[in-house]
Amino acid sequence: MSMKSRIPLILLACGSFNPITNMHMRLFELARDHLHQTGRYQVIEGIMSPVNDDYRKKGLVPARHRVAMAKLALETSDWIRVDPWESEQETWTETVKVLRHHYNESLRLLQYKKEFIKNKQPLEGSTENSLSSHYTVLPELKLLCGADFLQTFQTPNLWKKEHVKEIVEKFGLVCISRAGSDPAQYISESELLTKFQHNIFLVKEWIQNEISATQIRYALCRGLSVKYLVPDSVISYIAHHNIYTEESERKNEGDLLQPLQLHNTTVSPLND
């Protein structure tokens, strides 16, 4: 079987990662296995993009900590990495814009590699053929998410319809579903999602492993063990910086999520 004729694919996961848990890493592993099994894709990279502090979610600790923890957790992975771009923006960035950014980045990298090969061509003419085919196929970027994510498309004011359309039409979704949830039904209930369902990959989770970050934070605040749910390096980091406390859990309490606040205002201000 030739991996070279496959479409290169990048998986992007957006979320709070507050903190990163073993489940977040599992989503990537499950998605890669599934996409490889289709025989059409070669997953070349996984990117975790922690959300900006400006998202205003309750209990959201500073991005520098969330990025640092994700880096520690992914230290041993040879294909998943953290990208701080989203978290370093001035304000909260819509997911579709994060997708656009990373897609442009991947194209830039591809262009760079092409130039590199072209420059080397006179020296290594023989290896050029095999390399160029690998680097000239345009990569695809897909948004990786959990089952509950599809449901959030229905939440009023959380998503703009044109953004949802762009995500499923231009990029695509890889959705990991838990036992007991039926993402196929959310899709059938939405005309938009049904229209682009060829671009939505549903992956069944074969081991129930629901380590929600919220539960992890509760456990930490109560002094309970989270060992084997979160990597040891992350546990040490949390303890060392005393990140999750009752106080941190009250952060942004009562605040409206940034997307809700933005999409709620009918008159958009002139400052953009």
Binding site: M23, E29, D33, Q208, E210, I211, Q215, L229
Partner: protein, 282 residues
Amino acid sequence: MEDPDKKTEVVLLACGSFNPITNMHLRLFELAKDYFDETGKYKVIKGIISPVSDAYKKKGLISADHRVTMAKLATKNSDWVEVDDWESSQSEWVETVKVLRYHHQKLLSSDPTNSLQNALPLTKPGRKRKQEPNRHDPIKKKNQSPDIKSTPQIKLLCGSDVLESFGIPNLWKLEDITEIVQNHGLVCISRAGSNVQKFIYESDVLWRHKNNIHLVEEWITNDISSTRIRRALRRGQSIRYLVPDVVLAYIKKNNLYNPESEDKNAGVVLAPLQKYASDSKN
């Protein structure tokens, strides 16, 4: 603050195949320890993983050498859970109650403060009360000098599946179950909505000793069974972040789980079933 010396010391023992050990097995220990610490009455001093011997004859059971090594690798980063290979190195399958007795004896003999008071009653293991001299005797305990701690209790740690296996005919002897819950105690990690309560209610012996059965509710669903791990390995699926990285590396290096290893002991009757079924015929 309470006087920590007053707390009853507990050692948690988990028996099983550990074929291979997964993060779920390790979580059972963490959950049980948190539970006992929160009672304020107990202090967990140690956790012991005791992989079953090859003579158990379970389908797909790979050699104990490998299972023990993997468990040791997995507990390297734990400062309180350790692996003991006594059970796995026996040439015959050993009843769980005997593994409990063995570890209880070992604890007592390694603790010099207990050797005088407790050595005698324990020469006859399995008799009522004698293994827990302080349990029904609070007055005597007060009279002891504070530096003499009570005997550590050894409790069997298990998932709800083990508790429910008590109901499988010929898998357990009733007197063994009785001794486990009467003299030692059970810690059972159960999932919300499980039938463990009902199961205890429907069993006379479990009901009688329910005070010695600690039910710990799991707050995060974690269903990483070894069977599913082996299946994923045979299919070339990733099991990363479900077992410790060191265990995964060991499995790959030694090519441990494959269709042939899964066929091991196929069609062979489990050691306890073989033993007790023939006992009941006699």
